[in-house]
């Protein structure tokens, strides 16, 4: 399980306006590129260093590549990170205020307590 890496993907994409658009338009390509080139970037550290062992699990990679936020919730991705990034990508497609946020809740309605563990 690499819940941390899923969170790192959501975190690093959300903070970069160009990456938000790239992930919206080409999710599978962005995830593959990010895992290859950026997954190991050690944030706030010497630029010449990289982490060597971080990889997605297949289920995580597939969920990210499919924009499948329901599956990401199930896998324990941090819900705040997922919500924030997905609002940035898809709120614009809904006319009603909070339309996307409400649809998001509806699609998660089958989850009861306790929710999937988010600890990293």
């Amino acid at each position: 399980m690499s819940r941390y890496l899923v969170d790192k993907f959501l975190f690093t994409v959300d903070r970069d306006p160009e990456l938000v658009e790239r992930y919206r338009e080409d999710p599978a390509g962005t995830v593959a590129w990010w895992e290859r080139d950026l997954a190991g970037s050690l944030l706030n550290c010497h630029s010449g260093e990289a982490t060597t062992w971080l990889r997605f699990e297949d289920a995580e990679r597939e969920a990210l590549a499919a924009h499948d936020y329901v599956r990401l919730f199930e896998l324990g991705a941090h819900p705040f990170l997922t919500l924030t990034l997905f609002i940035a990508m898809f709120e614009r497609d809904h006319d009603e205020p909070l339309g996307f946020q409400k649809e998001y809740a509806r699609r998660l309605a089958h989850f009861g307590l306790p929710y999937p563990d988010i600890a990293t």
Binding site: P17, H78, F80, L81, L83, F111, L113, P114
Partner: protein
């Protein structure tokens, strides 16, 4: 010594700025009532005539990240830039620049470390809406120097609720032992029941109105003991998956003191969360 002029605990709703500044068709129907309540709440800080603000909040994965996550962090810098691109994007929050009060930051760090809190520090901290929302609501001039105190209510493993209360008590002692002839207000923001990124998000009310009712009762009566007897890290998942932000309210109860009844209490039942506003005047009871 410094005077603790006011203790203020509030929710921090990032939609307030946009709702309160919107006009015409864009202005939501609840905006006028919300602005009226905030204006009255603001007066409780103004009346205390503070010189310095200690601002307790929590970074929302902006600058603080899982590769190096502090539990409690005190900013020590002459200035703090504020708000991030994704807060501008989602909430329309403005970029801000706040002054720091480095002497008080240094005092809190030294005294806190000596009191058993292994406080992290930051000399270059960009603060987010957990601190700028109460600046916007309570001191929109943004003219007073601040000391930011960040808590981890977000990334497990978290400190337990009792630790937040203890830190609040310590902050009070440290503020009152600060050798400066200045008036300090301690302002902290958190949440009542709240769900973000889960099935109960953005409902007609907060996800657990009964929890909210009891939380307002605990806070307004200063019932730290009762609150601690029922609130645990595990129990906080039940009212909503972001309800651990309630621990910042518990920290503020620690600042206000056991049994300290709030001098000002107000709430506003909004879609998706209950807003709650509390002010204590410690000197008035002395």
């Amino acid at each position: 010594m410094a005077t603790l002029a006011a203790v203020i605990a509030s929710t921090h709703h990032p939609f307030y700025y946009r709702a309160s500044t919107a006009v015409g068709e864009d202005r939501p129907p609840f905006a006028d009532e919300w602005v009226a309540k905030i204006t009255a709440f603001r007066e409780t800080l103004t009346r205390a005539a503070p010189d310095v603000l200690v601002m307790v909040g929590s970074d929302h994965f902006h600058q603080l990240w899982l590769d190096n996550m502090p539990q409690f962090l005190v900013g020590k810098a002459p200035f703090y830039d504020a708000n991030f691109y994704n807060e501008e994007r989602e909430f329309g929050l403005p970029r801000m620049l706040l002054k720091g009060q480095e002497d008080l930051s240094a005092h809190l760090l030294r005294e806190g470390l000596d009191a058993g809190f292994d406080l992290a520090f930051s000399n270059e901290l960009r603060i987010d809406h957990s601190i700028t929302c109460p600046i916007i609501t309570l001191r929109p001039e943004a003219d007073l120097p601040i000391v930011p105190v960040y808590t981890n209510i977000f990334a497990p493993p978290l400190p337990r609720p009792g630790r937040f209360v203890e830190l609040g008590r310590a902050i009070r002692r440290m503020v009152e032992s600060w050798p400066a002839d200045l008036r300090v207000a301690v302002i902290g923001t958190g949440h009542l029941s709240l769900e973000l990124g889960g099935p109960r998000q953005f409902g007609a009310h907060g996800p657990d109105p009964e929890f909210d009712r009891r939380a307002v009762e605990w806070i307004s009566t200063g019932d730290i003991e009762g609150c601690l007897s029922e609130v645990t890290l595990d129990s906080l998942w039940t009212p909503g998956n972001a309800t651990h932000g309630f621990m910042d309210f518990m920290l503020m109860m620690g600042v206000a003191g056991e049994g300290a009844k709030a001098d000002y209490v107000d709430t506003l039942d909004l879609f998706h969360t209950m807003e709650a506003y509390f002010t204590w005047y410690p000197g008035a009871r002395a």
